[in-house]
């Protein structure tokens, strides 16, 4: 132990530290929770603080190195309760905080920058933020926040944040614009552009760029995240993971680990219950296979669970892990789907007690089929086509990389119920799924979802909670477990890698006559989400275009690779990469314009989506009657394409002088397009619920089961409720995702939250409204159907009004007392699709193969965006995540199955200084089945950037690359072979 003397936020402090303590650890021990863990070696910047006024990463700084220095954390700005510093306020107003996990680092970076440069350029701002990774926003709004903060600190008034309204343009007119140039209205790109629909009525709160309801909590770095609490006598847990890709665990000797002072429990196969389960957080009954146990006697990938330790400190727990003696019998491994499904491959799931594996002997977790016509009819359709094209694609395993890793704190409450405070997207599924694994009943478990710092599907999985539950029950002490970055990369989940082959029959005029999609998918060591993700690949690959004959075939293979699971887009990004690349090449091959070919075939309002109900494990032509096929109820595809064409300056792609600039002989430019669609929840399955109660001052508590993971769900809930109740969004106090307190919800996935849970909120608010209106009628002396709620008052048609507060006081205290409240749930037989058009402009350096994306545009029809600011944040962040999928991201293993890039250095995600400008255009449509016309927007932005970039590269160079990511070497090699 040593003493470290420093000045912390203006106060002299002496900290007791070990030599190995990082400043990050020391500061969190001091209660500076705004300093957060994102990585161990400085790559995420989540732990950035100011040291003598300069931004430094506290995770690569020993506490001892700060001795004698001045350390400033975000907490230094938090002087007045309920108030924000101008920089914090700018971050909230602009929607720069999604998860808000790195808010401290970003605000401090802004502070340091603005102190030395009060009027910074965009390049300076991006440079100042370049060491702080953000997986959610795409940086546009963060840069805008710093700009606004600068303006405010200079004493000037920042401009309004109203999204500019575009004059709509038709597709023909857009295509005819000459000379084409990108048309950026005079407003920051951080604001979405709006194309309004005449079908959408007036609203007071819905549709407005309201600041996030949890803005204060995030901007101040308050202790909102799972790991931001410390309980008395809390233990720290660490996982020991497998060094082998495939091995049997013959014996575990934990005696040395247990003998280490400070170790409280060591769990492994030989001392834990053996209950088969599927880790995917999905609706009951969970889809097969049940092929996992908490600690198996076999490891199936490098990173698989072997043992867990709970100890007084993380250091002790980590050391104890190294003292566990495990005897392995190493087995041959299959490291790709083709290897695993080939002859003589090792059987990865040779256990006898797993349930629901499609064909374990052939390493197939699932097989999926679906077709709209018989095989004979399909082949006849191909035979009738003027042209038939076959093309294969390959897409890698991408990792979610939420900046906040998986974190759980568990304890026994005073009634000895197990409480799990977990960074989960699915609190209710988790409660039900973890119960059998820890040997408790559902009623003995409470799951609390605190603030999440991103999830993207990785937190739709139970990857740590069962272990923490078992450790809590074994030690009867609180236990905290936080994945480190390497574990987050390897032992969490990834997107499914796939090989896809499209066979397409097309007439010379571009009409599609037959589509056949075959997929081999890699689910990694376990089959979680294997069926549903790959079903969606079929659905998305074969729904955007009308075609009389369609067939989908898919094998999902086990491999000895990290486990694939749910990841934003959920099978759709794979499908769209293949489909949209393929169609571009088909158009070129038959001499059609890529937009023309698509327009010939794209689905429109009123068309039926024929493949979806036919996807199943049985295959064959499912007997589905025409009326049972889902219908497209609203579709803005054509308008989206028109807006995107205008915004990107589409026709330049045919201009040789633009494509090959004279002054830069090594550069070729190009523009590409991809269309996409998604769903809004899972029809018949997803359900959300909400309750609302009115308080004395006409504020409302809104309790929703849904899980906001940084997306802005809590804010749009407040807006929806406020709209119905005639109050301000700030009058709604939202609490979501606590299984003891809030009603049920399936959780945050499948783009369901706005459409399903939002509708539950609307209905609950309407129930409360009915009570208010009845009482208001009485107080105003009119029939209740004449009462209107607005501006926090109830109005009679003649202009008389009564404050809602009086109604609340009347109801709670004086007359015929009641709690005014409403509760409702909602499910839907529909899943109306949002539609989008994504455009990319690129520069390819033909000497090096480097692809630089210079602009991204997405025009999207998500119905009516409830909050254009948070919705555009979803789009910007999704586009940049998809850009990573296209250009840089891929989990790479060596020949033994060991990860080569399980860290942010070698695994590249985009930073503030290399993210291209993004432009978001919302093309409104009115979706009558959604709350105030809304459809979903959370996933669709991740669908189309990768193929748009790929198509732009082809436009620039003539080279078609069908494997992601487009690394410089891959592009260079393709150019060599040209």
């Amino acid at each position: 132990m040593m003493q470290v003397k420093l000045r912390l936020n203006g106060e002299d402090r002496q900290l007791r530290c070990e030599p190995g303590d990082t400043l990050l650890r020391a500061l969190r021990r001091e209660g500076c929770f705004s300093v957060r863990y994102g990585s161990d070696t400085g790559e995420t910047g989540a732990a950035a603080v100011l040291l003598d006024g300069r931004l430094v990463s506290a995770d690569v700084l020993l506490a001892a190195q700060a001795d004698g220095h001045e350390v400033t954390t975000l907490e230094s700005l938090n002087v007045a309760t309920g108030e924000l510093h101008p920089i914090q306020a700018a971050f909230v107003e602009t929607g720069a905080l999604q998860g808000g996990y790195s808010a401290g680092a970003m605000v401090l970076a802004a502070k340091a920058l603005l102190e030395r440069s009060p009027e910074p350029t965009d390049a300076e701002i991006r440079d100042a933020l370049s060491g702080i990774l953000d997986r959610e926003t795409g940086y546009a709004k963060v840069v805008e926040a710093v700009r606004r903060a600068a303006t405010a600190l200079r004493g000037e008034k920042p401009g309004p944040l109203d999204p500019p309204i575009l004059e709509p343009i038709g597709l023909e007119a857009a295509l005819a614009i000459r000379p084409p140039a990108d048309s950026t209205p005079d407003a920051p790109l951080a604001l979405p552009r709006m194309v309004l629909s005449p079908d959408v009525g007036h609203t007071a709160v819905v549709g407005k760029a309201e600041p996030k309801v949890e803005g204060l909590r995030l901007a101040k770095g308050n202790a909102a995240f799972a790991d931001d609490i410390e309980l008395r006598a809390m233990l720290h847990a660490k996982l020991l993971t497998s060094p082998y890709a495939h091995a049997r665990i013959v014996a575990v000797d934990d005696s040395k680990a247990r003998a280490l002072s400070g170790v409280h429990e060591v769990l492994h196969h030989f001392n834990t219950p053996h209950v088969r389960y599927a880790s995917g957080g999905q609706s009951w009954p969970n889809p097969y296979p049940y092929d996992q146990v908490s600690f198996d006697d076999k490891v199936r990938y490098v990173g698989d669970r072997v043992a867990a330790v709970a100890a007084d400190t993380p250091e002790t727990a980590e050391e104890a892990c190294t003292l566990i003696d495990v005897t392995y019998e190493v087995l041959p491994a299959a490291l790709s789907a083709s290897e695993a499904t080939g002859d003589g491959a090792p059987v990865i799931h040779d256990e006898t007690d797993s349930v629901g594996i499609y064909d374990a002997a052939r390493n197939l977790s699932h097989h999926i089929e679906g077709q709209t016509v018989s095989d004979e009819a399909l082949e006849a359709a191909f035979a009738s086509a003027d042209h038939v094209f076959t093309q294969s694609f390959s897409v890698p395993a991408q990792q979610h990389t939420p900046i906040e890793p998986h974190a759980v704190v568990g304890w026994l409450d005073e009634d000895e119920r197990l409480v799990l405070r977990s960074s989960t997207q699915v609190p209710f599924h988790l409660r039900r799924m973890v119960a059998p694994l820890v040997g408790r009943e559902v009623k003995e478990i409470r799951v609390v979802k605190p603030r999440l710092g991103g999830g993207f599907g990785s937190k739709q999985e139970m990857v740590t909670e069962d272990v923490v539950g078992l450790l809590v029950l074994a030690t009867r002490r609180p236990v905290s477990m936080v994945f480190n970055r390497e574990q987050e990369f390897i032992s969490s989940r990834t997107r499914h890698a796939q090989s896809l082959t499209f066979r397409t029959g097309v007439m010379s005029d571009g009409t599609l006559v037959a589509q056949d999609l075959t997929v081999l998918a890699d689910t990694g060591a376990y089959g979680t989400h294997g069926f549903t993700v790959q079903s969606l690949t079929g659905a998305r690959g074969l729904s955007s275009y009308n075609c009389p004959a369609k067939r989908y075939r898919c094998d999902v293979a086990y491999t000895n690779r990290p486990v694939a699971g749910a990841f934003r887009g959920y099978g759709a990004p794979q499908a769209f990469f293949a489909l949209e690349s393929h169609l571009d090449d088909v158009a070129a091959a038959i001499g059609l314009d890529p937009i023309e070919l698509r327009r010939k075939n794209w689905v429109r309002t009123g068309d039926r989506l024929d493949i979806v109900p036919r996807l199943g494990e049985r295959g064959g032509v499912e007997d589905v009657s025409e009326e049972d096929l889902p219908v497209v109820t609203s579709c803005g595809t054509e308008r989206c394409v028109a807006e995107g064409v205008r915004a990107i300056g589409w026709q330049r792609r045919d201009d040789p002088s633009w494509r090959q600039p004279d002054d830069r002989p090594n550069i070729r430019r190009g523009i590409g397009l991809a269309l996409c669609m998604q769903g809004s929840g899972i029809p018949f399955v997803d359900m959300g619920a909400c309750s609302i109660k009115m308080n004395d001052d006409a504020s409302f508590n809104l309790l929703a089961g849904a899980a906001d993971l940084g997306t802005g769900a809590d804010t749009i809930f407040a807006q929806i409720a406020a709209e119905v109740l005639g109050v301000r969004a700030s009058d709604i106090i939202v609490l979501s995702g606590d299984t003891d307190v809030t009603p049920f919800d399936k959780g945050a996935y499948a783009s369901s939250t706005t459409y399903i849970s939002g509708m539950a909120v609307k209905r609950a608010a309407e129930a409360a409204r009915a009570r208010i209106v009845e009482r208001a009628g009485r107080l105003l002396g009119i029939e209740e159907e004449w009462v209107e709620l607005r501006d926090r008052r109830a109005w009679a048609p003649d202009g008389h009004s009564v404050p809602l507060e009086d109604i609340a006081l009347n109801a709670l205290h004086t007359e015929d007392q009641e709690q005014i409240m409403g509760i409702a749930s909602h499910w839907s037989p529909d899943s109306p699709a949002p539609f989008g058009a994504q455009f990319a402009e690129v520069e390819v350096d033909v000497e090096t193969g480097e692809v630089t994306v210079t602009k991204l545009v997405m025009a999207v029809d998500c119905g009516v965006p409830i909050n254009p600011l948070t919705a555009s944040g979803q789009v910007e962040g999704g586009m940049i995540q998809s850009l990573g999928y296209g250009l840089t991201e891929e989990i790479v293993l060596d020949g033994q199955g060991r990860p080569l890039n399980a860290a942010f250095g070698p695994y590249w995600i985009f930073r503030a200084d290399d993210t291209p400008p993004t432009e978001v255009i919302f093309v409104q449509t009115m979706e009558h089945s959604g709350p105030f016309g809304a459809k979903s927007v959370g996933e669709i932005p991740i669908d189309g950037v990768a193929p748009a970039v790929r198509n732009a590269v082809r436009n620039a160079t003539g080279v078609a690359i069908d494997t992601l990511p487009l690394t410089p070497e891959r592009v260079w090699r393709a150019l060599q072979g040209r």
Binding site: P19, G42, G45, A64, Q65, T848
Partner: protein, 281 residues
């Protein structure tokens, strides 16, 4: 990702640091910015028993005009180097290279001495020092000595520094008005280079490469070709003669060779002609 346990001491002068290192023996290590050492320790790829923190040795942080050269203290941080006026005037390459390292946090902590002493073939400042023809001053128990950059980098993370020796100063010959260029090929702005190339033309031409072998190195092929009057294209062609670049997940050796020749071409073109040298391709 927690380092093995170790002792920590802090030196307040060069003399004290040298004494502490001597007392600590083989397993003692200097801690400067810690941005190379701490990551290695967290990965347990380095397990020193004693860290001697020189972060507070103020006498090691400076840039001084020393006549026909600049003297740069080993503890000078990348950020300060990138903004220093003397450096901008007399060794602009060094400022440009320092300004493109990592990100602001890395530049605020990382030191030129740490970058040099670490001897990482992937880091940028060693290449800059090689191209500038710099030399390094080391102080050890037996006194002070000066080592030319060209003799300093001996292998993968290995240098001519003896255990117990402290790097105190980087001596950079003034290259006022000389042609120079730094080409960094990476997939993200400012990140580690996949391949990099630093060139200085001040009568003769020095071409140094990042990530093209086990250590930071110069390109004998390109330099000899230029000295013999070859064109830029010919020099670039020969840039990788005798080099054995690594193959890793960012680039195969073959692609690295190709990149190196492209970057050498670009760097020579940007550095332009220098007295007595042919510049145009």
């Amino acid at each position: 990702m927690i380092p093995a346990s170790f002792e920590y001491t802090r030196a307040s002068s060069v003399g004290e640091a040298v004494r502490m290192l001597a007392a600590g023996g083989e397993d003692a290590k200097v801690l400067a910015g810690g941005h190379s050492l701490l990551p290695l320790m967290k990965l347990r790829m380095a397990t020193p028993s004693l860290l001697v923190d020189v972060g507070r040795v103020r006498e090691l942080s400076y840039v001084r005009d020393a006549g026909d050269s600049l003297a740069v203290g080993a503890l000078t941080r990348h950020f300060d180097l990138s903004r220093d006026e003397l450096v901008a005037r007399h060794a602009p390459l060094l400022a440009a290279v320092a300004g493109q390292i990592g990100d602001p946090q890395v530049r605020h902590r990382g030191t030129i001495g740490g970058s040099i002493a670490h001897g990482d073939p992937a880091s940028d400042l060693p290449a800059a020092c090689l191209a500038l023809g710099a030399s390094f001053v080391a102080v050890g128990p037996s006194g002070e000595r000066r080592i030319a950059a060209a003799d300093f980098f001996t292998g993968f993370l290995e240098t001519a520094l003896a255990p117990g020796e402290l790097l105190v100063e980087i001596v950079v010959p003034k290259a006022t008005g000389a042609g120079w260029s730094f080409q960094k090929f990476n997939r993200r702005a400012q990140d580690w280079a996949i391949v990099g190339c630093a060139v200085v033309r001040d009568g003769s031409t020095r071409v140094a490469l990042v990530n093209m072998g086990a250590s930071p190195l110069r390109s004998p092929g390109a330099e000899q070709a230029l000295a013999a009057g070859a064109s830029v294209a010919e020099a670039a062609e020969r840039a990788c003669d005798g080099l054995e670049p690594p193959s890793d997940l960012n680039a195969s050796a073959e692609y690295r060779r190709h990149l190196a020749s492209v970057l050498v071409t670009r760097a020579l073109a940007e550095a332009g002609g220098a007295p007595g040298q042919e510049a145009s391709p």
